[in-house]
């Protein structure tokens, strides 16, 4: 009973938060609403007994991702409301709703599929985090390591991309521009040499 109440409460909250994220024209609102939504999502994980996942969710999303977004937003002028050209807003909503109805139909409708039901309630003898750890470091060891490497690569990539002076792109420049740029850098090195 308690679970059910929690579920419905958090469901309403999550849906509300995400709707705000999607619908608002203020980037700051959107960011805040999303952060809240992420935390509410973690509540489901806790309800489902996936404690580890819930913790991760809070740490990674609200801790790391949101911080990244927040820093990212500082680069952009986000104090003003975002002006977006809209065409056919109704179409977008209808399409989304249609997708939802269809997926629900697939999941639930008895004419389409046999109902998915709980069959094996999880065995709670072992703590969730402990169990996750056992699986993660045995069966999923290689993917786990790969994910680690990937995160490292992503981090470096993020730093390089955002940090380096990238206001010039060779691929998007005309030949003359490239020549000009090379000439100027050449001049600069020469100047430095003189000093």
């Amino acid at each position: 009973m308690f679970e059910a109440i929690a579920f419905y409460l958090f469901a309403a909250l999550t849906i509300g938060m995400f709707t705000i994220t999607v619908m608002t024209s203020q980037a700051l609102y959107a960011l805040t609403a999303m952060a809240a939504g992420m935390i509410f999502i973690s509540a489901f994980f806790f309800i489902l007994g996936a404690d580890f996942l819930g913790a991760i969710q809070i740490i990674v999303y609200t801790g790391a991702v949101m911080a990244l977004y927040a820093f990212g937003m500082m680069f952009f002028d986000t104090t003003r409301s975002v002006i977006e050209k809209r065409n056919n807003p109704r179409f977008v909503v209808v399409l989304g709703a249609l997708a939802a109805v269809l997926i629900v139909l697939i999941v639930l409708a008895p004419i389409v599929t046999t109902n998915l039901n709980s069959q094996h309630p999880i065995d709670l003898n072992v703590g969730n985090t402990q169990a996750i750890g056992m699986v993660l470091f045995t069966k999923y060891l290689v993917p786990f390591e790969l994910a680690a490497v990937m995160l490292l690569v992503a981090m470096i990539a993020g730093i390089v991309l955002a940090g380096k002076k990238m206001d010039k792109s060779l691929t998007l420049m005309a030949d003359e521009e490239i020549a000009l740029m090379q000439a100027s850098s050449h001049d600069r090195t020469e100047e430095e040499g003189e000093h």
Binding site: F45, L53, V60, Y61, Y69, V107, A154, M155, A162
Partner: protein, 101 residues
């Protein structure tokens, strides 16, 4: 009133579709990223639920990796976004048409 897997799946679906609407409707790249995060989270909920009701940790594992991937995606994506913004001063999708066929 017992909570069943279907409850979670429906919730997951609803969240996913909110994400979809966002993906379709947003023209600002940053906002688009938010919408993709919603998509990923919606799936995560489903994964965790299935994991729970099927008694199998695979779902949770997937959710875990999805979170990892989402984090890297944000890092790289934001980096690119910053670069783009530096070059053009805009992050409007309608103006990114260099992939016109």
């Amino acid at each position: 009133m017992e909570l069943t897997l279907n409850h979670y799946l429906i919730l997951s679906t609803i969240l996913f579709c909110i994400g979809l609407i966002g993906v379709m409707r947003r023209k600002n790249l940053l906002m688009l990223f938010f919408a993709t995060e919603i998509l990923l989270n919606a799936v995560n909920v489903g994964m965790a639920a299935i994991s729970h009701y099927r008694g199998d940790y695979t779902g949770q594992m997937f959710a875990f990796f999805i979170i990892a991937i989402a984090a890297s995606e944000v890092a790289v994506g934001l980096g690119l976004l910053v670069v783009w913004y530096k070059r053009t001063g805009k992050i409007d999708l309608d103006q990114m048409t260099s992939m016109r066929g």
